[in-house]
């Protein structure tokens, strides 16, 4: 029996290769995800292990704001003296090393690094792992040394001038030295470093002279942990004390966010491709089994038991799954090598490790591949075993099964699902709406899958007519409608993929419309001065007032810019807004602002507001009621720089998209907020002033700062809307990859169907169809299926997306017709592409052998 199976396997190499391809792709992406993630996180671990190799114990200020990358409270220099006095401490050195020193390249643009930090540090000579490669260390305020990573990136040499943005506005420095690290590399995982003299670093990076970002302690005579405990005890509660290893682990954990994103994307893709793979394998084995019904019936007539019949098919699946999974693993490792290279090139990160292959994960990926194949082959195998031997041998063609049962089976979840979605949209179910929506969409999709066969029966003829009237296209169309189940399973991938694409498209377009509407809502100013993305910075939701919540230091400009703007002819009002992030009791990371509230109320729709003095705040009405606060009472506010303090609430205002949360006096804000300069500026023009000319003049004021720009309301709205562009593009790329597998699905079915129809093709050639007719016929078949799948997917996805946009509470539900048309076009292209190989095959069918085909 096994021998017969393996013989059969060899005889059907081509068909099985097609089935295997799906498994290969699925396993490949799972393996690539795992290897890449392991390599990236292993790489970061290695980087931070070297970076902290000279550190026995590190002391840092305890961050009062619960935010991983947020500004940490500076450590006063007195702590260093205190540490030196502790027995067991060999040395205690105050360090300044803070993310946020943005070097400006020779092209006038900020040197962008995605992932690794752009550190500003205090120069302490060739200590720890720092090694000078060229020149010397900075000795005066106007001098810096930079790491070789930055020198390479920006083309800097010793003696050049470099401009750097820090907490302070743009400042020029002379490069006196270029340094690398004791491991021979020019950067720590691709970071850029600017080393100032200690007081300059303290002022520019921490905002305060005489403070440090951390203190590095070396040990003498006792263990690291012992010292850590001793130091922690001596310093008390306000500090984070860690050994070097703990520090490395903690720092690496922060950077792992990057790796996590990579992992999520890749695993998402592999999940999708495995799902699609299941369809593909199911389809392939169904066709294979149908084509061999006679052969299997013969086995059964010869006395093979039902179990043995199932067994033969499963053994085939097992062999295909094993080979394909092995190939997939190999390819996955290759892809991962490529991917890591691309990511290193893109982000500038350097991973000081080769490719790390996690063996247990690989075993899991392998088992998943084999498992999926066997499970997918099970249903066709069981079906094959149920065919009575005589029927199968007499009627070689499998009879058309009725669609009644599957239609009824599909109608139930479809109706329930649609009801759920409608309920989520129409009724007010509170937080249950999301459950109703998600459940509805899932059930609806399941229903859709089961209803696709019946839909193909009605829709395919209509679609086919639109696509062409010639005899060849008619034949193609009929072929597509021939077996509704097979058609349904073939287009399933396209339906799923384009459904997701359509849904994402609708939600994205609606969010975009919502963002641009909100960006300028209640904005009375004609021009807004802001750093990249600050004006529309998300507070986690994609909408809301600007905060520093993402932990990176916000681009700011000098307060004097506003005073100068106010003096420009044609300007009637100019006002600055300081932006920060604070913790309110029970509400961490609340946005906060500061500024001349009287002037701000003229450009923002916040009502008539009292100006807070020092130690006072005004709070918007929403926050006030949410926090159960009242005007005249007090509130405890925790800030990054100053810890927890009590403020008196002296007034209230209407929340606006640009401003929400507590608003402080400017004098307080410079002490409390991470960024001590304004992040936003509003300019109102005199009536009749030349807007273009004034805009140009205002832009000149911030011309030295490439991170800050001046935008009018239209630009502001566009800018806000463009926030989701990257996320949207990434999703599309991801889904585009699964379209590739979808195409493969169609290729597969078409190729198999054509093998099945050899005789028929021969007949067509015999009665005078040219090769070109044959090609056209197969293209028509593929095209009509692709368009059918694309339309079904886009319609279902678009509807689900519109429902989601509605439930999200977006101000508008916008259907992006153009994009949807483009996606449909992609579906058509997919159809054409999928027909390429099968149509060539059909055209090259030899008439005589086809007719002689048993």
């Amino acid at each position: 029996m096994l021998k017969a199976t393996l013989r059969g396997l060899l005889a059907r190499k081509l068909r099985l290769t097609l089935a295997g391809l799906a498994v290969v792709l699925g396993v490949m992406s799972v393996a690539a995800a795992m290897v890449t993630t392991t390599t990236v996180s292993g790489g970061f671990d290695a980087i931070f292990a070297t970076a902290t190799s000279g550190v026995d114990v590190s002391v840092a200020g305890k961050s009062d704001v619960d935010e991983p990358r947020a500004f940490t409270t500076p450590v006063a220099s007195s702590v260093v003296d205190e540490l030196t006095g502790i027995p067991g401490v060999k040395s205690a050195v105050g360090e300044v090393s803070v993310d946020g020193a943005r070097p400006i390249g020779t092209d006038g643009k900020v040197i962008a690094v995605s992932g690794p930090p752009r550190s500003g540090v205090a120069w302490h000579g060739e200590t720890g792992m720092v090694r000078l490669w060229d020149g010397r260390g900075p000795t005066s305020d106007g001098e810096v040394a930079i790491n070789a990573g930055l020198a390479d990136r920006g083309g800097f040499h010793v003696g050049d001038t470099i401009d750097v943005l820090t907490l302070a506005p743009r400042q020029s420095f002379r490069i006196v030295g270029i340094y690398g690290f004791s491991n021979g590399r020019g950067s720590l995982g691709g970071d850029t470093q600017v080393a100032f003299t200690e007081p300059v670093a303290q002022r520019l990076m921490l905002g305060q002279v005489g403070t440090f970002s951390s203190v590095t302690v070396t040990v003498d005579g006792i263990s690291r942990t012992e010292l850590r405990d001793r130091v922690a005890k001596a310093l008390g509660d306000g500090y984070t004390v860690r050994t070097g290893d703990e520090l490395a682990a903690a720092t690496a954990a922060n950077s792992k966010a990057f790796g996590d994103i990579v992992r999520m994307i890749l695993l998402g893709f592999s999940g999708l491709s495995l799902l699609v793979g299941i369809f593909l394998i199911l389809n392939t084995f169904s066709i294979l089994v149908a084509q061999r019904t006679g052969e299997l019936a013969l086995l059964s007539a010869l006395g093979a038991r039902r179990r043995q019949i199932v067994g033969t098919v499963l053994v085939e699946a097992l062999v295909v799954g094993t080979v394909a999974s092995a190939v997939g693993l190999g390819l996955g490792i290759g892809v991962s090598a490529l991917l890591t290279m691309v990511m290193e090139a893109q982000s500038g990160a350097e991973l000081p490790v080769g490719l790390l292959v996690p063996v247990p994960d690989m075993v899991i990926a392998f088992l998943i591949g084999v498992g999926v194949t066997v499970v997918a082959a099970l249903a066709p195998a069981v079906r094959a075993s149920r065919v009575p031997p005589v029927t199968a041998m007499v009627a070689a063609k499998a009879e058309q099964r009725s669609l009644k049962r599957i239609t009824v089976l599909g109608a139930i979840p479809a109706v329930v699902g649609i009801a759920g979605v409608v309920a989520a949209v129409v009724t007010d179910l509170g937080s249950f709406r999301w459950v109703a929506l998600a459940g509805g969409v899932v059930l609806g999709l399941a229903g859709l899958a089961l209803l696709t066969p019946i839909a193909s029966r009605t829709l395919l003829p209509v679609l086919g007519r639109l696509l062409g009237w010639s005899a060849s296209s008619k034949l193609g169309r009929r072929n597509a409608a021939r077996n509704p189940r097979r058609t349904a399973i073939t287009v399933a991938t396209l339906v799923v993929t384009l459904g997701l694409v359509g849904g994402v498209g609708v939600v994205a377009q609606s969010v975009r419309a919502d963002l641009s509407a909100n960006a300028t809502r209640g904005l009375g100013a004609d021009l807004v001065i802001s750093g990249d993305g600050v004006s529309a910075r998300a507070d986690g939701q994609g909408v809301g007032p600007p905060t520093a919540a993402d932990g990176r230091i916000m681009p700011t400009f000098a307060a004097s810019v506003i005073d100068e703007a106010r003096r420009l002819p044609g300007v009637s009002e100019a006002v600055a807004q300081y932006v920060g992030s604070v913790d309110l009791p029970g509400a961490p990371r609340s946005p906060a602002a500061a500024g001349d509230v009287r002037r701000l109320s003229r450009v923002l729709d916040i009502g008539n507001v009292r100006q807070p003095g020092r130690g006072e705040v005004v709070v918007d009405t929403e926050t006030l009621s949410a926090q159960r606060l009242r005007v005249g009472g007090t509130v405890e506010i925790t800030t990054p720089r100053a810890g927890t303090r009590e403020f008196r609430i002296v007034g209230t205002y209407r929340p606006s998209p640009m401003m929400r949360g507590p608003v402080f006096a400017v004098a307080d804000a410079t002490e409390l907020f991470v960024t001590q300069a304004p992040a936003l500026g509003y300019v109102t023009l005199d009536p009749g002033a030349d807007a273009t000319a004034v805009t140009r003049e205002v832009a000149k004021l911030v011309a030295d700062n490439p991170e800050v720009s001046v935008q009018d309301q239209t630009q502001l709205a566009d800018d806000a809307a463009s926030q989701i562009d990257i996320a949207e593009t990434m999703l599309y790329v991801l889904l585009g990859l699964s379209v590739v597998i979808g195409i493969l699905g169609i290729v597969n079915t078409m190729a198999l169907s054509i093998l099945e129809r050899t005789r028929e093709l021969g007949l067509l050639r015999a009665i005078g169809m040219r090769r070109s007719h044959m090609v056209r016929m197969v293209v028509a078949e593929s095209l009509v299926m692709a368009v059918f799948g694309a339309l079904l997917g886009l319609a279902a996805g678009g509807a689900a997306g519109a429902a989601a946009a509605h439930v999200l509470g977006l101000s508008a539900v916008v259907i992006p017709w153009t994009s949807l048309a483009v996606f449909l076009g992609l579906g058509v292209a997919a159809g054409l592409l999928a027909a390429l190989i099968p149509s060539t095959r059909a055209a090259s069918v030899n008439v005589l052998t086809a007719i002689a085909y048993e």
Binding site: S470, A471, R478, R482, E760, I767, G768, R770, H773
Partner: protein, 247 residues
């Protein structure tokens, strides 16, 4: 173009066809010459392996030959491209096969019209009605092949072959898969299309009774024409076949 000086619908002159090479080579056609006269019903007979199917395939432009000349009407087939052969088969040659003659996805009418549809030609409605009437399928036109009996399916195939008025119709064992009655109907129809519509038909068959419907029978053995018989009767044919060592 269809009128010829010779009065031949198709002809083969000194045609040789070999399969394989060396010791295993089989000579399917051995320097054979045949004339298919216009407006006649010709049957080709011979034992299995005699080359009768190969001859028909060569005459129909389905297969190439190693040497010799094959013509349909005046057209020399050996000089035609694949595209030219396809067009020839579509416009000037009709086929009826033993089995699997129809496309399962098309209705009877669509199957009949297929060669014309491929050529983007409209049929003459009167001629269409006449052909459909002759095969007795007027009430079956909307049916799919799966809803028709074997005899009905074969009649659809006959109508399809006849509708474009080809120079010659090739029928390859057209009754081989049918019961006697249905087979008789098909043969009667073929006879009628020769007598009434002046169609030229070449039929390959094993069956002496089928051959008796023809005007002329050619007997093949080992790739050569060994005997000819005009206005054959079934028992004469049977005797000849027995003599040639096959049935």
């Amino acid at each position: 173009m269809t009128t010829t000086i010779t009065g031949l619908a198709a002809s083969a002159v000194g045609v040789t066809k070999r399969y394989g090479t060396g010791a295993t080579a089989v000579t399917a056609l051995d320097n054979i010459s045949v004339d298919i006269r216009r407006g006649r019903f010709t049957a080709i007979m011979g034992p299995s392996g005699s080359g009768k199917s190969t001859l028909m395939h060569a005459l129909a432009g389905l297969d190439t030959v190693d040497s010799g000349e094959v013509r349909v009407g005046e057209t020399q087939l050996t000089s035609l491209s694949d595209k030219g052969l396809a067009d020839l088969r579509r416009n000037r040659v009709g086929f009826v096969f033993q089995q699997f003659n129809l496309l399962p996805t098309l209705s009877a009418e669509e199957n009949i019209m297929l060669p014309l549809a491929i050529a983007k030609r409209r049929p003459d409605p009167a001629w269409f009605d006449q052909v459909v009437g002759a095969v007795g399928l007027a009430d079956r036109l909307t049916h799919r092949p799966s809803e028709l009996s074997g005899g009905q399916q074969q009649r659809v195939a006959c109508a399809r072959a006849l509708l474009p008025k080809p120079d010659v119709i090739f029928a390859d064992e057209p009754t081989g898969n049918l019961d006697t009655r249905s087979g008789g109907e098909i043969l009667a129809f073929l006879r009628r299309s020769v007598d009434e519509f002046h169609q030229t038909i070449v039929m390959v068959t094993h069956d002496a009774n089928a051959a008796a419907y023809a005007d002329r029978v050619m007997f093949l053995l080992d790739g050569a024409l060994v005997h000819e018989m005009a206005n054959p009767a079934a028992d004469e044919v049977l005797d000849t076949m027995k003599r040639l060592g096959g049935t």
